[in-house]
């Protein structure tokens, strides 16, 4: 039987190297210069209708869709960006015009829009969001609710200048 022998300094060096590798993994994404743009999700653009109006609330409300919009690269928040939202809800399907609405981000790049409760459609409880104003590259998102009973959902955009 062969003995595997580790010298203490080998172990310490290996441990330190491991820790450095691990920690740098946490540091790199936090470096704003490296912030990558959010890619569109598969199926994100399904039942998209361009030009949904900016509304106070979609239908009767009860469900909160929120998120942030930032610029790729430096990660700075983008104010006044129009985000369009639609979903299959208790008040209509994705193909109903009244299921679509849009809102603008505030000074901190955050948006928040109340809409009717999302219900599972075509097998999954999900929402659709888009940024399509042209100043930045268009992005379509299709986030899932972790449970169909959820009453809120977040989606975040990092946009690439067009």
């Amino acid at each position: 039987m062969s003995d595997v022998c580790f010298e203490r300094r080998t172990l310490i060096a290996a441990g330190a190297a491991f820790a450095v590798a691990g920690l740098s993994g946490f540091i790199v994404p936090a470096r704003a210069a490296g912030l990558a743009a959010t890619p569109s999700m598969r199926g994100g653009a399904n039942n998209y209708m361009p030009g949904a109006p900016i509304v106070e609330r979609i239908g009767g409300g009860g469900f909160w869709m929120s998120g942030t919009v930032r610029r790729a690269g430096d990660g700075s928040p983008l104010a006044g960006q129009r985000i369009q939202i639609w979903a299959h809800t208790t008040e209509g399907s994705e193909r109903d015009w009244h299921s679509h609405g849009a809102t603008l981000t505030d000074a901190s790049g955050a948006f928040r829009l109340e809409m009717p409760q999302i219900v599972p459609a075509l097998g999954q409880a999900h929402a659709h969001l888009s940024y399509d104003s042209g100043e930045y590259e268009t992005v379509f998102l299709r986030p899932l609710l972790s449970s169909p009973k959820d009453t809120s959902l977040e989606a975040h955009f990092v946009l690439q200048p067009a």
């Binding site: 199926g43 039942n47 809800t89 208790t90 399907s93 994705e94 075509l122 097998g123």
Partner: protein
């Protein structure tokens, strides 16, 4: 009698749960019909192997086979109604599913089961031109894909079906298919060995 009661129970319970789902209130009639056609198809996937092997009391091998052949086109029709109904409900989602680029993990299983079912029906239509061996291997292989694909498809879906009754129905369909395939294969092997 016990078998018929059990079968009726295995089919009626999931159908009842699906028919009373709260999600129905928020769906168009076309979407409701499409969803139900899928549930009916799943129920028929349990009935078919039992008919094919003559395991239902009162429907021995010959009448059972006749019924199996009659139910086949109904199963194909149920799947066609399911897909067309969902396509009317949300065309881009179904186009994505059929082109295998859908974000939903269950789509690919459903599409595989659908094509296997269509191929199986086509094979059945040209059965007389095939050798017994080619027919057996072809039909058996395809229906395994139909039942397994359909069961996984159904289990991954968040829809009108209630989870436990859905799992029971899928499990029974898989067990019935496996038993039908195994016993028919064993019989065929014994027959060939006996001839030798």
């Amino acid at each position: 009698m016990l078998i018929w009661t059990g079968l009726a129970f295995a089919i009626i319970v999931p159908l009842t749960f699906a028919a009373t789902s709260e999600y129905l209130a928020w769906r168009d009639p076309v979407y409701i019909v499409a969803g139900f056609a899928g549930v009916v198809a799943l129920c028929l996937a349990l009935v078919q192997p039992l008919l094919a092997r003559g395991w239902l009391p009162g429907l021995s091998l010959l009448p059972g086979r006749r019924a199996h052949r009659a139910v086949g086109p109904v199963l194909v029709a149920a799947v066609v109604i399911h897909v067309v109904g969902l396509w009317i409900t949300s065309p881009p989602d179904i186009v994505d599913a059929l082109l295998l680029r859908s974000p939903t993990p269950f789509s690919v299983f459903g599409v595989a089961a659908m094509w296997a079912l269509f191929a199986s029906a086509l094979l059945a239509a040209f059965r007389r031109r095939l050798s017994l061996r080619a027919w057996r291997i072809g039909h058996t292989g395809l229906v395994i894909v139909v039942v397994l694909g359909g069961a996984v498809h159904a289990m991954l879906i968040e829809g009108t079906m209630e989870t436990t009754s859905k799992a029971m129905l899928c499990g029974l369909a898989i067990v019935a298919t496996a038993a039908a395939v195994a016993t028919s294969w064993l019989r065929a092997t014994r027959w060939v060995l006996g001839k030798k």
